[in-house]
């Protein structure tokens, strides 16, 4: 009995030690939208992840963790104070955030496209598909971009399910970012069955900082952003990333 108690005590102590080693000063949420932010082959990658890592390192913030979330969930986590920073944040009518939060950016631009089956021969555009059913990721950026056009939107839980709904002919098109759509289609062997058309709708992506961070840290992050912007870091990073992305798409085709 004493032996069991001793083991139990050790387990509790180990758990406490483990838990304390996992507490980070800053928690950053990123939208789990490949190729912007993704967990591939055991590593966190992507343009958004790289941008955040650089921004925090320039701000001398070393003690942080990055967690990927679906867009709506990430924003909910920020509002609940469980994360301190979220990127990317897109300003739309339906996702207004408290005035005490700080927006930094715009850092990058998001381009929307409509993905349809290769054998879909009708016109592919927002206007031409107004009477068709279009799928979009629940709470995603496209959802907000589509709403003003009064489409019948079928919600998908993930990017991959949005594309699969098109292949299964449950919807006419999947509205999604050009790069995310191409990436997910390529990596899941769907690219040869789909084609896409850019709609021309774009969204500016910002970093949003919640009110949980101390003011000095927010100021440091703002200053780091200004420095990086002056060096044209974000534009250069986007160019490099797009080159790598084209290489990736070419290699998977």
């Amino acid at each position: 009995m004493l032996f069991i108690r001793s083991i139990f005590r050790h387990v509790v102590v180990c758990k406490l030690l483990f838990a304390s080693s996992c507490i980070f000063a800053v928690t950053v949420g990123t939208y789990n939208l490949p190729p912007f932010s993704m967990h591939e082959d055991g590593e966190n990658l992507g343009m958004v992840t790289e941008a955040m890592t650089t921004l925090l390192s320039r701000s001398n913030v070393q003690d942080y963790q990055i967690i990927d979330y679906p867009l709506a969930r990430g924003l909910a986590e920020l509002r609940a104070g469980r994360i301190d920073i979220f990127y990317p944040y897109v300003v739309t009518v339906d996702n207004e955030i408290p005035k005490t939060y700080t927006l930094i950016g715009p850092i990058a631009k998001y381009h929307m496209a409509l993905f349809v089956r290769k054998d879909y021969h009708k016109e592919v555009s927002i206007l031409a598909m107004q009477n068709s059913i279009v799928s979009a990721e629940r709470g995603g950026i496209e959802h907000s971009l589509l709403q003003p056009h009064a489409h019948h939107i079928e919600e998908a839980t993930q990017t991959i399910s949005c594309l699969r709904m098109v292949l299964a002919e449950r919807v006419a098109a999947c509205a999604i970012g050009t790069l995310p759509g191409q990436y997910v289609a390529a990596i899941n062997n769907l690219a040869s069955h789909l084609r896409h058309v850019e709609t021309g709708d774009t969204a500016n992506m910002y970093v949003v900082i919640g009110d949980s961070l101390p003011k000095e840290m927010v100021e440091k992050i703002k200053a780091a952003y200004a420095d990086l912007k002056r060096d044209d870091y974000f534009a250069k990073q986007q160019n490099t990333y797009e080159t790598k992305f084209q290489l990736f798409i070419k290699s998977m085709s």
Binding site: M38, G42, A186, I187, K244, L247, S251
Partner: protein
């Protein structure tokens, strides 16, 4: 009795399909300048994963079979990425986006593969190595 026979038949068919699926043989083929070079299994794996990037002091040009072929599944299993090709793609995604490696070319046909092998230091894989320099046989 019929029920028993049916069950037995299913078992036999299952075994056959299993052995067919796993009897895949893949050949590692090289350019003429690498003919006769011997590679260990470990070296071949590292080459196919883009971890060994040069052989004989020259950059290796790696050629994969099409990502929609059965051969890529065998290759993926051989390099330790499992039978789901998505994992192999995920690996290359990491290599490309972190700048650690360049992705392999893909050859959809043997004719295309031969064209690549006409250049020096090219290493590819095929199920049909007729007329090519085989340096290693992959059995899965």
């Amino acid at each position: 009795m019929i029920l028993y026979f049916k069950r037995y038949l299913w078992f036999v068919l299952l075994c056959c399909s299993f052995s067919v699926a796993h009897a895949a043989e893949l050949y590692v083929v090289v350019s003429n300048n690498l003919r006769g070079t011997s590679f260990t299994q470990g070296e071949i794996k590292h080459i196919l994963l883009g971890e060994i990037t040069s052989v004989k002091n020259a950059r290796v040009k790696l050629i994969y079979p099409s990502y929609s072929s059965q051969a890529i599944v065998t290759l993926s299993m051989f390099v330790g990425k499992g039978s789901n090709v998505r994992d192999l793609k995920s690996y290359w995604s990491k290599m490309i986006f972190t700048g650690r490696g360049n992705p392999p070319e893909t050859a959809d046909t043997d004719a295309e593969l031969k064209k690549f092998l006409a250049e020096d230091n090219a290493i590819g894989v095929t199920t049909n190595p007729a007329g090519m320099n085989v340096v290693y046989t992959i059995n899965i």
